[in-house]
Every structure is written in structure tokens, then in C-alpha cells.
């Protein structure tokens, strides 16, 4: 077991982790933050995307111990005072989700993109989402939802 201190959605945690525990399972199984989900085992699908110090990472590619002294943001940390983040609201009004399983990862990948590039073109949005697979929507409404928030 290794001692790890990390912040998740502004809440500090001190955890004793097995070195092999993936960050995604630390979030899901230890902290009960089940909004982050697992969709594959090859780091291909992006369902488990979270922000690490503001940048998107696939939480299945990171060990929990690697998050030591870092700040993680999950989908549960996106709304403020019960009001959804503008990306979440835009996904809602653009019908950018169907089953919703990839949605947490999509929203966080989009947040990271807009942080880096506040005015992406459609092509830039599409390429930025290459690591996030959605099987329901065909992506068009996701791209539109993100474009509507871009400046």
C-alpha cells in the first residue's frame, strides 16, 4: 500500500492505495464517483476521461498513485451550485447524448479542448475528440454542442 494525497473536485483525500490500482477504479470504487466509467481496456474509448490539473487524461491509463499531489476533476465536479456547466447545458440542448455512457468523458475532453483552444473550427473539434468514442450519436450533435460553447 502506498499513501497518496490528491484533490478530487476540490475535496482533498488521503488514500492508501495498492500500486496497481488504476485511477479510474480509485475514483469509482474508493471514492464512489461513478460518473467516470470504463468502456475499454486499451485506452481507446475515452469514456474514463477526467481532468488532471485541468488537462484531459484517460483515467484508465494512470495509476492512482500517479495522481499523488495532483488535482482531479470528474464529471461530478463540473456543475457549480447545482447549475450545470455550459458544456453540459449545451450537450442537453443539442441532443448530444443518447445512452449517456460516453458523455462524462466527452464533456471533460471538450472542456480541455476549449481551455487550450477557445475557438476551434469544426475540424479541430472533430480531431480533438479522436480519443473519445461515442456509438450512439454519430458525433454531429456533440460537435455542434461544443461549437456552440466555443467563442
Amino acid at each position: 500500500m502506498t499513501s497518496v494525497s490528491l484533490t478530487v473536485n476540490d475535496v482533498p483525500y488521503e488514500l492508501e492505495l495498492e500500486p496497481r490500482e488504476l485511477l479510474v477504479y480509485v475514483l469509482r470504487d474508493r471514492l464512489g464517483l461513478t460518473g467516470t466509467v470504463v468502456g475499454c481496456d486499451t485506452s481507446s474509448c475515452g469514456s474514463c476521461t477526467v481532468l488532471l490539473d485541468g488537462e484531459s487524461v484517460k483515467s484508465c491509463t494512470l495509476l492512482g498513485v500517479q495522481a499523488d499531489r495532483h488535482a482531479v476533476t470528474t464529471i461530478e465536479g463540473m456543475a457549480e451550485d447545482g447549475v450545470m456547466h455550459e458544456l453540459q447545458e449545451s450537450f442537453h440542448t443539442h441532443h448530444a447524448l443518447q445512452c449517456g455512457y460516453c458523455t462524462s468523458g466527452m464533456v471533460l475532453a471538450a472542456a480541455s479542448l476549449l481551455e487550450e483552444n477557445p475557438s476551434p473550427s469544426e475540424d479541430e473539434i472533430r480531431h480533438a475528440l479522436e480519443g473519445n468514442i461515442c456509438r450512439c450519436t454519430g458525433y454531429q450533435n456533440i460537435v455542434d454542442a461544443i461549437a456552440a460553447v466555443a467563442r
Partner: protein
Amino acid sequence: MSASSEVEVGRIVGAPIDRKEDQKLLQGQAQWVDNMHVPGTVYLGIVRSPYAHARIASVNVAPALAHAEVVGAWSGADLEDEWAGSLPCAWLPTEDTNAPTHRPVSVDKARHAGDAVAVVAALTRGAAEDAVELVEVEYDPLPAVVDPEAALADGAPLVHDEFGTNECYTWKLEAGDVEQLFADADVTVTERYRQNRLIPNAIEPRSVFVTPIPAAGEYTMWSTTQVPHIARVTLSGVMGIPESKLRVIAPDVGGGFGSKLNVYAEEALALAIARRLGRPVKWTETRSEGYLTTIHGREQIQEIELAASSDGTITAVRVKLTVPMGAYLQLVSPGIPLLGAWIYGGAYDVKGYSFECVGVFTNTTPTDAYRGAGRPEATYAIERAVDALARKVGKDPVDVRRLNFIREFPNTIASGLTIDSGDYDASLQMALEQSGYESVRQEQAERRAAGDPKRLGIGLATYVEMCGLAPSNVLGAIRYGAGGWDAATIRCLPTGTVQVLTGTSPHGQGHETSWSQIVADRLGYDVDEIEVLHGDTAVVPLGMDTYGSRSLAVGGVALYHAAERIVEKATRIAAHMLEADAGQVEHVRGTFHGPEGSVTLKEIALAAWTAHNLPAGVEPGLEATYVYDPPNFSWPGGAHVAVVEVDTETGEVEIVRYVAVDDVGTVINPTIVDGQVQGGLAQGIAQALYEEAVYDDDGNLLTSNMLTYLVPSAAELPRFELHRTETPSPTNPLGVKGVGETGAIASPAAVMNAVVDALAADGVADIDMPATPERVWRALEEVQS
């Protein structure tokens, strides 16, 4: 616009209302099966065969049992007394269909890579994974057979020794004098196509969680299923658990596309181990494990012939399919190709029709329903063949289609079913206008003349499909094991809200929103005052679940009828309250008007609940159930146009435009309908250009994970241009038709017709799906050398 539809389109029905489902999904509060946990839960790990075909010589679970965190480990033989029946196949198309016993853990042989040979239960997910590695299995490898035609050859390795053959069944449908029509034909077209095997890839992996109450013999199973009701009935038979003691819950389910229209070994295993240990059991597949064990879709060898006159008038269609079932029959494996069996004539008026399908066992993962299930395959074959006919008679493919369209409705087609409505000219016309067909043809010619290495291709698919499964008597006649009805209950609560129970089981389709719109439209409530419950056999005992684009066309119509029953009863109570005759009371969207005054449905619901003063003979409460059995299938149709650019130097195909015109009857929520079409298009385009599950000759799945199987991302897919024509279905009072599969049905044909059209002048007549750069490049090399 909707003469035969009895709803007022535009106010609530027909409005692009934002979905009610979204808030929890967007904030990470969905109830996925894998989220569930209770103290004492054990996790299953499954030992799977690395061989596609091998005799299981011995299984030694002792080393796994020695693991400190392992609570049990079993071979197939150890579990034999758990099973009261085989894992279910609910569709044996002929009396003599070879149907093997299918055990959740195999005892004698492994018949495909990934077949289960042992199971372990451990206190943690990680320990279960470790313990799987500790089980010792000795295999005697056997030769495997992967190709369905090779499997039918003499001397092929037998997947199931007891049958003495790999043939599962042969099913035929013959109508009209096909032989004569072919003999009399001026022109015939003979084509052979391969449908690529696909992996459905619902983005939520499969998961099951069972909590037993041993003393009561009761089990609750949470499962990532599209079919909680069907799972309950069939698993009761597999497990010998009385149906009344098995509750199945499909909580939030992350996509299905047919892959979760099944009853899986792991569901039975979780129940069996929960029964053995008397404690909660959970299993979640890894994606790579799912690639081996969750059903695959498509894969067919299609031989199609058209008989036609010299002007391109098609007189007869003859089809022969060879279809791998895989190693076992899953829930509806044998029936999947038959869902296309009636529509290989497409939207065309043909006289003669001959269809034959041979189902074949192979040492591969079983095939079963994947979005469109039999109809993308049928549409692909007829639409590709019509283009081949157009080239042969020297006509534009548009003209050949127009020459052959069915125009009279209802129309009993050669294969014997009756299409209730459609207007294929209207969809085609709109698709041509929206795509600028003529100007694209012109640009195509200009590019060719200029020797541009980037060829332009235009592909059409003018389709009709049959969905909304289905009249129960028809399903019985084709030996499907269940009915095709669905049920809805409306309960008007005393506090002014409504509870809707639906037998459909959504997993992304937005039923909570669309069903609320239907009820709001009929009963005058706000959409937000209506709660839609689904996917729990204890809450909604009656249902037939969600697949085959049936939910709206069957379950939604049941809801409409339940609303009418509410109005009937409410009218009697209103008359009593208003001191009028029932005949004098008029209902307008939730308000009941009498000669002197009016009363709202909410007031009536309260009166029915207090029951202080009800008319004689009227039961308290305001609740109605309707079970609707559709009198016909649902018949969406439309026209899709794909414009592609094919780089002759690299073989790369780019979709420049994709125009889809679909006719799905009355639209309840256009936003949701567009979303369904977009998702279907993505999967169909993926079949045409990107996806293929590939086995080597030994039965190893080469595309064994998401790194090697290309599920397209936003970067690969184009922007879709969607349009609609609207021919309401006269079959139901809502005028609705199915919509879930249209995109996946029409798009592979449209895209591949475009790819072939781009290269036809170069001499290319066919390219297998997916049309990867390598395949395109090789096809060009072949014709140039």
C-alpha cells in the same frame, strides 16, 4: 399532412422537446450496472479458451481455490446440476433446425476462442482476474473451421459432433414462377457479396449483478440488457427458478444496438453462483473479453440474381445466403438473416421471388442481432445489384429505380407481406434535389475528363425495411418463440401527476421524453408532470422490450390506446361530477366539458382516488392498461445519397456529402428522430468503410480489441444532411413507423454504390466492405494490370 394520423402534430407531438433523461446522464448520476455494490459481493472471473476448437482434457481449479481471496472455483462439469435447460435460442426457423445444447460453461469442448471453461469467484475484481490465471486447463486442440462455405464442405471439422454436419438449417421462400421469369429475361445480373462481420461495440460493456435472498429463493438480477422481460422468462427456464422469484432490472443501459438483445452465459452464471454461495455476485466484461463473447453482427455470403427486361424493368429476384451462426445459437441467431428474407426485392415491384438461407456452425463467436439485423444485408444486396443492372442496361441508376418503384399501397409484395404505405418517388426526388444530383454527375464527368486522380462517385440507396416486430400470429408462423405485442399502463395519480409504465426498455432512445409527449398530447398534462417507468419486471411486469425498431410502433401505440381508455373512464366520472350524460361530455386535451361547466382530468383523478362519490359500478382509481398487438410490420422507407471522393493514388475514400431522406411516418420528437438516424448512419458508414472482425484460419480473432478494430471517431465521420418525407402509417392511430435502424440499413449500400460508381469507368465492379484504402488500391491495381 397526416390524414390517417389521429394526433395533432405540432403542439406536443412533433415538438423538438429537450430530453428528460439528460440531467442525470450529464452529471454523472446514471445508475449503471457496474456501479452497483452491496457488502459481501463476490466478483466472477471467467477462464476462457485460447483455442477456437479444442477438447477440454482436464480442468484443475485447486490452485485458484488456494488464493486467499477466492471463495469458489468451478469447471463446467462442477456446475452441470445448476442448469434446468440450455441457454435459450428463441428462433429455430425449421422443425429440423440443429440446435445444440448451450452451457454457460462448456464441459466437453471449447467451440470458439473465448468459450468459457471455468469460473472463479473472488472478493475483489483484481483477485478474480488473478485467480483466472491460476486455473489449469489442459486442451487437446482440434482443427477449426471459420469460413461458412468451408464449414459445409465434406470433411470439415465438426463444431457439434452430434449433428454430423455443420449445417444448422436451410430455410426457403419461393413465390411466382421464378425459373420462367429468368428464362424469359432479356438481361440478368448475377452478383456475389460478402457482408463483413461486425462487433456492435455498445459503449457500456456488459455487466450483471445478482442479489439473492436464499431463504426465500428469490433473486434480483441487474443486467445491461435491452430485454429484461425476455431475460426473466428464459432465465427462469435455464435456472429452474420460478419466474415469480426472479426480478430482472435493466437500470440505465449504455447502448445496445442488438448486442444486449440477448440472454448471455454470464447472466446464468451469476445467478448460479449466487445460488451456490448465497451471496451477491457481480461480473463485468472487459472490452477485449466482450469482443470474444458478446454477439457479433452481419457476416453473410450473398448470391443475388436479377431477371430484367432490356429497359431495366426487374421481373424476378433470386437470393441465396450462406450465414455463419458461430459456435452456438444465441437468442435469435438463426432468425437474423430471415429478418431480411422478405425484402430482397427492395422498394421494387417484382413478380418472382426466391430466397434460400443456409445457417452454418463455425468456430467463431455467435452472430446475432446488430442494428438492422438482416435488413442492412438485404438492402445492400438489392441496391448494389440494381446499380449493376443500371450499368448493364446503360441507364442512370436513378432511372432504373424509378422504373421499378412500388407505387400502389397497401401493396402485397412478391415475398408475401403487405407494405402499408410509402412514397418512394417523393423521398428520391427530395434526395436528388438536396444532393444536387445533376450537378454532381456533371462534376464527376468533368473530373474524369480532366484525368483528376480523385474520382467522384455518387451512390444511391432507395430502401424499404420491415420493422416494429411484429404481429404475434406472424411471428408464430415463422417459428419465433415470443409474441410481438407490447403493453402500457397509465396511472393518473391524485396529486396531479401521471405514472406511465411501459414494456419497452430504452437504452439511449429517449422513451421517457417521447412517451411523455404522447401522453401529454392526449391527456393534457405537461410533459414534466409525466413519469415514465421501465426496465424492471417488478414495476412493469408486462412487456416485450426494445429491439427491431419496435418501441414506438408497438409500445408507443399501446400507450396511445391506454390513454384512450383513461379518457373513457374519466368521461364517465366527469359526467357524474357534472351531472350530465356521458354522451354530453366532450374531452379536449385533459378538460371534460359538460353542458354546464367543466372538470379537468387532474380533478377527476383526485375524485377517483378519494372515491367518495363515484358513479355506480365504477372502480376507484384512474388507471388503464392496454396490450397492443400490431396488425402489420412497420415499413419505413427513403432515399439516401452518398457522394464520395476516391483517391486513386492512395485508395482513400472520403465522404463529401451524405444526404438522407427518411420516411418514418409521424414524428413524435424530431430531435430524437434525427439523433436515431445520425447514429444509424455512423454505424452503417462504419460497416462500409472501417469495421471488420477478422479471424485467422485457426479461429483466432485478429481484431481482438479496440486498437485493432476501428470504431470510427468524430474525425472519421462526415456531417450528415437529414431530411424527411412523411407518409403516416395507416396501421396505427399515431401514424408512426420505426426509426432506430433506417440509417444503418440504407447507408452501407449508398456508400458502396458511390465507391463503385467512382471507379466504374476504371473497370472496378465490386469492392468488399469495408472499403479500406488497401482494398480500393488493390481493386484498381487488379483492373489496371
